[in-house]
């Protein structure tokens, strides 16, 4: 079996060289090796979206992505959004609109919204709901999340 391989990856703006076994998924490397605990593992089946991170600006399920797949790529987790102590506009909108309760789905939700707004800066409600159908929240009922996304879109890029 292949021993651990070295990958070079930029995570939240910082370059890393990591030794990872091929069978390890990105979510475990982020959580166990780098203590980036905002990447949650819910269903472990690429369905619930709690483990969503951005890989080269695309939303990806970290529970179903091997760590070796991000070799020479850029990863952003929820810990990488706030800059200089200031929240990202999407984070601020979620806070101001009460768009979370238990918070388990929130990191993945916010990163999906970042990807959505990067591609569609002015999404209508149908598009917002289509994208967020990939992120399951069992607390809020989604209405406040949709309102937060619309507010974040109105506020423009941070």
């Amino acid at each position: 079996m292949t021993e651990a391989i070295e990958i070079a990856v930029t995570i939240n703006g910082r370059a890393h060289r990591l030794n990872v076994a091929p069978r390890r998924v990105l979510a475990d490397v982020l959580r166990e090796d780098l203590q980036l605990l905002g990447c949650k593992i819910g269903c472990d089946q690429a369905v619930c979206g709690a483990c969503t991170v951005l890989v080269d600006e695309m939303p990806v399920t970290a529970c179903t992505t091997f760590a070796f797949e991000v070799d020479r790529k850029t990863v952003i987790t929820i810990e990488g959004l706030a800059e200089g102590g200031g929240l990202d506009p999407v984070q601020r909108a979620f806070l101001e609109h009460g768009a979370f309760q238990c918070g388990f789905c929130t990191p993945g939700m916010i990163l999906s919204v970042k990807a959505l707004l990067a591609r569609h800066p002015e999404p209508d409600e149908a598009l917002i709901r289509q994208w967020l159908s990939a992120n399951i929240c069992r607390c809020t009922g989604y209405q406040m999340i949709v309102e937060a996304v619309r507010a974040a879109a109105r506020s423009g890029p941070g």
């Binding site: 089946q45 695309m58 992505t65 091997f66 070796f68």
Partner: protein
């Protein structure tokens, strides 16, 4: 009870902790990938987007060697060649959904694909992996069957082989799917109905020449252990109006020739058969 005998389990144990240790291979070319797969033996798998393979490994798929295709160049193009749309096997669902060329030549694909799976899967999953997984719930396999697509394989002996979608892989188990081609000259009319997913999905491909439908194929998903294709029983070419008028009869004829659909916790076999007939009739009427 027979239905229970054939029912799929309601829950399966699936976890990333069950992923076995494996040898990782990262070929730089298609030829290198095929050689690695052949050398790996029965425990070797190709891995592109990995959505399907990783989930199968979480369910206990005994993989000894993963041939990761992420560094193989030249398999992700979208182009038009000789009146056919050539889609590289590593084209992702997202690129299929957003490609200007696909939108221009086969607009129904571009219209349907934003609703397929979710954005994360569309960004990572590939159409080649979708076909080769032979999962009855996957959508691009249906599109390929309905379109009578040609699958281009690089075989283990180094030769390129082209096969029709009815037999994806076939005797090419170590071969690598490199591209899928579909007609792009406006003779192919595709219709999708995913409204009853996950019980039944349907794609119909009609070959239209001079305004008349000369032949067609019906691809059925979610109802059998693998995607299933059937021919539209047309003795003579029909105008679209005639096709719509005969939709009910044609649907009945197609369904009469089908094997019994699956029975599971989502639907019984008889209900699935009835819904297949309904969707065929509805889609043929819509095609008119």
């Amino acid at each position: 009870m027979k239905a229970l005998d054939t029912a799929a389990p309601l829950a399966v144990h699936r976890s990333r902790k069950l992923i076995p240790e494996f040898r990782l291979h990262r070929p730089r070319s298609a030829a290198e990938a095929v050689a690695m797969k052949a050398a790996a033996g029965p425990g070797g798998v190709y891995m592109a987007g990995g959505i399907d393979v990783v989930n199968r490994m979480k369910s206990g798929l005994p993989v000894t060697d993963a041939i990761h295709l992420g560094l193989v160049a030249g398999l992700d193009g979208i182009a038009e060649v000789d009146n056919r749309l050539r889609l590289g096997a590593l084209v992702t669902h997202d690129r299929l959904a957003t490609s200007p060329l696909v939108r221009a030549r086969l607009p129904v694909l571009a219209q349907t694909w934003p609703d397929v799976a979710n954005i994360r899967i569309r960004c990572k999953g590939t159409i080649g992996g979708n076909i080769m997984a032979r999962d009855p719930a996957y959508d691009f396999a249906l599109a390929a069957l309905a379109a009578n697509a040609r699958l281009h394989f690089l075989a283990a002996d180094g030769a390129m082989r082209i096969v029709q979608t009815a037999q994806p892989g076939g005797d090419l188990q170590d071969g690598l799917l490199t591209a899928i081609t579909l007609p792009s000259d406006c003779t192919l009319h595709l219709v999708f109905d995913r409204s009853l997913r996950p019980i039944v999905t349907l794609a119909i491909g009609l070959d239209v020449v001079d305004g008349r439908v000369g032949s067609g194929r019906i691809a059925i998903g979610c109802a059998y252990t693998a995607p299933l294709a059937a021919s539209l029983p047309l003795a003579d070419p029909l105008s679209r109006g005639e096709l719509a008028r005969r939709a009910e009869q044609l649907a009945q004829e197609v369904v009469a020739g089908l094997p019994a659909p699956l029975a599971d916790h989502q639907a019984g076999s008889g209900y699935r058969r009835r819904m297949i007939e309904v969707l065929i009739r509805r889609s043929l009427s819509a095609a008119a």
